[in-house]
């Protein structure tokens, strides 16, 4: 049972439940106490010792059902030798004998042994399935079986060719069985780890290069990120251990000591919960970055007090109302298609966008507002209008510029980034999910 338990724990780890050594010892002890008699009790015992959160319980349930399931298959092999045992040339590998006798249990066992000998548990990637299938077949001496069948055919007697046909059918069934077995084991040991590799890749992929088939996964990742950030920053800050002395609280806390000051109370650290105004460049090169950035910002309702969003290309337009009326995912989709938006999608013109903003919406910016501009600052050699940006910067609490290009590209060609940079409080590259995460940290920090 220890071996089985070990394998089960390996499969759990593969599926994303971090099982520590002490927990696996607990599991073994728990099984020793509660016994193996009742499947439900075994499952409960393992669940109590191995899976330690609601999410892990779910994974555990799936793994348990997959791992401890027994399938009974109808025998795909012929029902035993057809006409007595004839004299057979060459030496038949043991697997051939099992096929001739229709010993399904024996074959299954042999496959399992072979799988263990080639260390099938180590399978991690979907691309390894073929290799492992081949190795297992080799361990089962399939090549020898093939030679044996060829010899039988060459001999030519009716009995021999009947046996050869039977073996050949059995061989197909065997390959099929091994393939299925590898598939099953891949499901148990590796499926989730492949998922994790994709996830890791998505964290660092440039959003502009993201393929559309990964959008769903990306939305999921952003939701996860948003949840984590909301959790992290929604907790009221616990009482600080140092900082400025809160004299009033200290006095009150020490009343029962007769006014002698034993315990100190410190002033709490304040967290920033900013109002955000975001200006997004929605020219084609920017659309994916804008999509994911807005998706995140609108999710962060614990971190950010209020968001007002504007999009611009040749002209500027407020789009906050779309986010107020539709679900976030739908709203970003509408921005992408431009459906019902009265915006002029010509050449990007930062100058006129700033002009529109300062003339029509400047009252959106107050001393409490953090203004975020998301754009590549490529203004097609138009008037950069940096004096207007300066006006916005002075009115706001903070001006953050997010540029999806890598820093070496800033200021090259028609990029006005170098000019705008001087006016911003913070300039960040923003092209991957990781950058978005850093943005949240920057937002809550009080400058």
């Amino acid at each position: 049972m220890d071996r089985v338990l070990n394998n089960f724990i390996v499969s759990l780890r593969g599926a994303g439940v971090p099982v520590s050594v002490s927990e696996s010892i607990d599991a073994a002890q728990a099984l020793a106490i509660s016994g193996y008699g009742d499947r439900q009790i075994v499952k409960s015992s393992l669940a109590a010792t191995l899976a330690k959160s609601a999410a892990e319980k779910e994974i555990f349930d799936a793994c348990f059902e997959r791992f401890f399931s027994f399938q009974s298959l109808p025998s795909p092999f012929g029902a035993g030798p057809e006409n007595g045992s004839e004299e057979q040339p060459g030496d038949m590998p043991p697997i051939g004998g099992m096929i001739m006798e229709g010993d399904l249990g024996g074959v299954a066992l042999a496959v399992r042994d072979a799988a263990r000998s080639v260390d099938l548990q180590a399978i991690r990637f979907v691309t390894q399935r073929g290799m492992f299938t081949a190795r297992i077949l080799q361990a089962l001496q399939l090549d020898q079986l093939d030679r044996f069948v060829a010899d039988l055919y060459r001999e030519g007697s009716t009995g021999a060719s009947a046996a050869a046909r039977q073996l050949e059918q059995g061989r197909e069934a065997l390959i099929d069985m091994v393939r299925r077995f590898v598939e099953e084991q891949y499901d148990i040991f590796a499926r989730e780890s492949t998922e994790r590799i994709i996830e890791r890749y998505l964290w660092d992929v440039r959003l502009t290069e993201l393929e559309e088939r990964h959008y769903d996964r990306m939305h999921f990742l952003i939701r996860k990120l948003v949840k984590r950030m909301n959790e992290r920053y929604s907790r009221r800050r616990r009482r600080a251990k140092r900082g400025a002395l809160d004299f009033k609280q200290t006095l009150r806390a020490n009343m029962h000591h007769g006014g002698l000051l034993f315990e100190t109370r410190w002033k709490k650290k304040r967290m920033n919960r900013p109002d955000v105004v975001i200006l997004c460049d929605v020219s084609r090169s920017m659309s994916t970055v804008v999509r994911f950035c807005l998706l995140m910002l609108y999710g962060l309702n614990e971190v950010i007090a209020r968001v007002r969003s504007f999009v611009f290309c040749s002209s500027l337009l407020e789009v906050s109302h779309i986010f107020e009326t539709c679900p976030i995912a739908e709203a970003v989709e509408r921005l992408r298609t431009g459906e019902g938006l009265d915006i002029h999608m010509g050449r990007t013109d930062y100058g006129s966008a700033f002009w529109d903003f300062t003339n029509r919406h400047l009252d959106a910016v107050t001393g409490k507002t953090t203004v975020i501009i998301l754009g590549d600052a490529r203004s097609n050699y138009g008037d950069p209008a940096d004096e207007l940006l300066k006006k916005i910067a002075e009115r706001s609490r903070r001006l953050i510029w997010l540029n999806p290009e890598t820093p070496p590209m800033w200021g090259t060609g028609d990029s006005e980034m170098k000019r705008y940079m001087r006016l911003c409080d913070l300039v960040m590259e923003c092209s991957t999910l990781r950058h978005l995460e850093q943005l949240v940290r920057a937002l809550v920090r009080i400058p």
């Binding site: 728990a30 009790i41 015992s45 109590a48 010792t49 319980k57 959790e231 616990r238 009482r239 000591h257």
Partner: protein, 314 residues
Amino acid sequence: MRDQTGKFETVDQVNEGFKSTGYICSTDIATTVYLAFHLEKPVLVEGPAGVGKTELAKKAALFMDVPLIRLQCYEGLDESKALYEWKYGKQLLYSQLLRDKLDQVIDKESDLGESIRTLHRYEDIFFSPQFLEPRPLLKALQEERGAVLLIDEVDKADEEFEAFLLEILSDFQVSIPEIGTVRARTRPYVFLTSNSTRELSEALKRRCLHLFIPFPAPDLERQIVRHHVPDIPDLLERQLVMFIHEVRKLELKKVPSISETIDWARALILLHAEGLDRDLTRKTLNTFLKFEEDIRAVDEKLFLLVDKALKETA
């Protein structure tokens, strides 16, 4: 804690034992409690509000016939509230009362150094067990026959407190600088509950058995209702549980808990209901829904929900 009473021989026995105290448990719950007893490990209980996490600890105390000691966690909870505190007031009062006595002790000596030395001989007087105020954790360690220690809503406490708990939960001993190490006379049986308002630390989870209590399956919930409201007509009980299960599938601010199911069953009995119908349900919605919006949301779909409950139990 050794199994002197023979109450923990099999999982079924635990199950039956809890039933006799009025707590109907699933196999998961019974197995975990059984294991926790034998492995001497704390149990971390998680699950939505109102599934009986706290009740489990109370009934465990009843079942084992030991006192229940409860520590309610909240933000800012610290050692002095959880473990022990000196009775400052008493110390001050005594030192005032004993002032004359002190004068006598010291007065004879004129030398300052001499009087300090004399005082040193008495210093431990004010830091002796008589001046110690045990808080829940220390109390649980001191119980002669063991106890059930319930650390409620541990996710509300700060992370530092969690780290501090680790020490107690692994060794069941604490050191009080002025007195020395206090070791558990009998290991208490520990339940921690959490509503998952935040992730608990890995280290804490590793040391505990983990029990997740979801809302019970219909069959189990029917057993629970029948246990608490024995004179409920069979039909009504089935329909009512089915209805509650349908309501839980809706997106509500607060889904009805088990205790609210029971409340509703009692209310319906008082109204002499034999089976569920739309009118009666509408009038009694407020026994298990506690938000105006929720009542409105359920009211809108009442026809469908009641219909479904009636059909599935027909």
